[in-house]
Assembly symmetry: C2
């Protein structure tokens, strides 16, 4: 294992300390219990959005804390759920009096821990569970579908609505609507190595790829021989389209998400391939995002995400956002 670390048990705290110092204008990092909050939290009268989960998916979620997105993120150890005390402390720190909405990726540990936190906290709170990954049902850590890069779209759009003054019920309903309008699927070219494990999570042959991989290296639909970028994009997009069933000619957001070890040059090439697929299927790519947003440490690979847009969702996407990893309009 070749990584920039000092000690396996200090990876998270040292990385978070760096993150907090690099972005002190946007966030405040709290340790024990550990969470990342907006520097200006609590924002009075605004619904507070909190997400979290295992680390190793950076910039998800701490990179999306800031105006127009999350109020707090609770990072667990690498690929390990955060704990209820983190979530409860985060909720207390960022609750502006209009309630707290938890945005939780659908993994058994995360869902259970956020449920426990909700019980601890009481008061006005609600939860949105994201499960945008069409690859498989009932995976290694999941009952139902996994929550993956589409979570970024949910956090962005609900964050915009909360910034504009939507109440807790409206934020929850919107989050569920965006999640339902969003589908993703990923592919791995290599494994990743969890620092505490010290060896690759799984093994792939020299010419093999894992189609439908999860963001922790969970198995996908099938292991196949390396194909062209166009063929890979077509497989992913076809699975997404078949499941989402977008209306002909309707606008969509296309997100090409790198898993951490794939050059930007290849991500834009995959975007080009996915966009050509959309054009051929009368899906209008009205908004785009290309980059590393929901990663799996240094895994080479990417996921494609499609969100069916309407005027409201498009405006929420375009709404100003100021976080470490996503910033426009402000």
């Amino acid at each position: 294992m070749k990584k920039f670390i000092n000690a396996v048990d200090r990876v998270l705290t040292e990385s978070l300390r760096g993150f907090g110092a690099a972005h002190s204008d946007i966030v405040r990092v709290q340790m024990e219990p550990t969470f990342v909050a907006r520097a200006d939290a609590p924002v009075k009268g605004k619904v507070a959005l909190i997400s979290g989960g295992g680390s190793g998916h950076e910039p998800l979620h701490a990179g999306f804390v800031g105006r127009g997105m999350l109020d707090a993120a609770c990072p667990g150890q690498v690929f390990t759920s955060c704990t209820p005390d983190q979530m409860a402390a985060a909720a207390q720190a960022v609750d502006g009096g209009a309630g707290v909405l938890f945005i939780v990726k659908n993994y058994a540990g995360d869902v259970m821990n956020f449920e426990m936190a909700a019980d601890m906290i009481g008061g006005d709170q609600a939860t949105v569970i994201t499960n945008d990954d069409v690859a498989v049902e009932d995976s290694t850590y999941t009952t139902g579908r996994r929550g993956v890069a589409g979570t970024v779209v949910v956090e962005k759009m609900v964050g915009a609505a909360a910034d504009k003054g939507a109440d807790l019920a409206a934020c929850k309903a919107l989050g569920e609507r965006v999640n339902k309008a969003t589908r993703s699927m990923g592919v791995a070219l290599t494994s990743c190595t969890v620092p505490a494990a010290g060896r690759p999570t799984f093994q792939l042959g020299e010419d093999e790829i894992e189609m439908g991989v999860g963001i922790h290296g969970e198995p996908g639909r099938k292991r196949v021989k390396l194909e062209s970028a166009d063929a890979i994009a077509n497989t992913l997009m076809h699975a997404i389209e078949t499941d989402l069933k977008p209306k002909a000619g309707a606008p969509a957001l296309l997100l090409v998400n790198g898993f951490g070890g794939t050059p930007l040059m290849e991500l834009y090439l995959m975007y080009d391939a996915a966009r050509r697929y959309c054009e051929g299927r009368n899906i209008k790519v009205a908004r785009s995002l290309v980059g590393n947003y929901t990663t799996s440490l240094e895994m080479a690979g990417c996921s494609l995400t499609l969100t069916a847009l309407d005027d409201e969702l498009t405006k929420l996407w375009d709404h100003p956002v100021r976080t470490a990893a996503l910033r426009w309009g402000v």
Copy 2:
């Protein structure tokens, strides 16, 4: 070689086509001769900034085209200089009547080709050559020092000055001043693979790292056993500090630049280590940037860059910028 590609000879054009489509609000991509220009170019009365060089370092340079930074970027094939006809066509497209400034990383091929372009174009033009890498003198492709991630700082600050109305002579003088105030050094944990070569550029042992590596995988100062993040950061920062000799207590910009294959989590951990070095040496980190900005395809590793700031440079850094890869204040 496992990469998202369709054909080796179409990597650049397909990737650029994707880049142009994903960022059509910011850039316009022109093919044959190939360059990326601001969507609103030419900007009348503004000095036009043009950079370029081999691809494979994304987002450098196309990701920095837009308001407050570059007017155009000329991408060559992977790790191969762009050609004079690209530079001349770009200059013609973005010249707003106030002259053209070329920002060129110090590699023999790039310098020669930009000189030829300058001869072809005539008129008001000037060149700034960046050579911020303290690792070695007279490297594989270079006489003198290599231009690396510090180029981003030069492009940002000169871009801000041009946006504020500085004339050609002032932009050139500023570019040289920023370059002189900037030092970098990098380290590789793995090699990268150029698509056309199909195999890794160099070989590193399981526990070896290349200290002082270039952004094309050129040899550095020495090959050593893997060390802790703190030890690596100290080696890089010590080399930078010894060369830059920043004034005690003076403000500085600290850039931690990923080479493409290193997770953000580790880059923030390296930032934490570098920042602690600075604190111990009475260097005040006043501005920070952490992420993949000058990459070497999928190489695992990073570089550290320090720029000695003053009030003018700090204001230029903070000036609004709107590009695909760097965006704030607008």
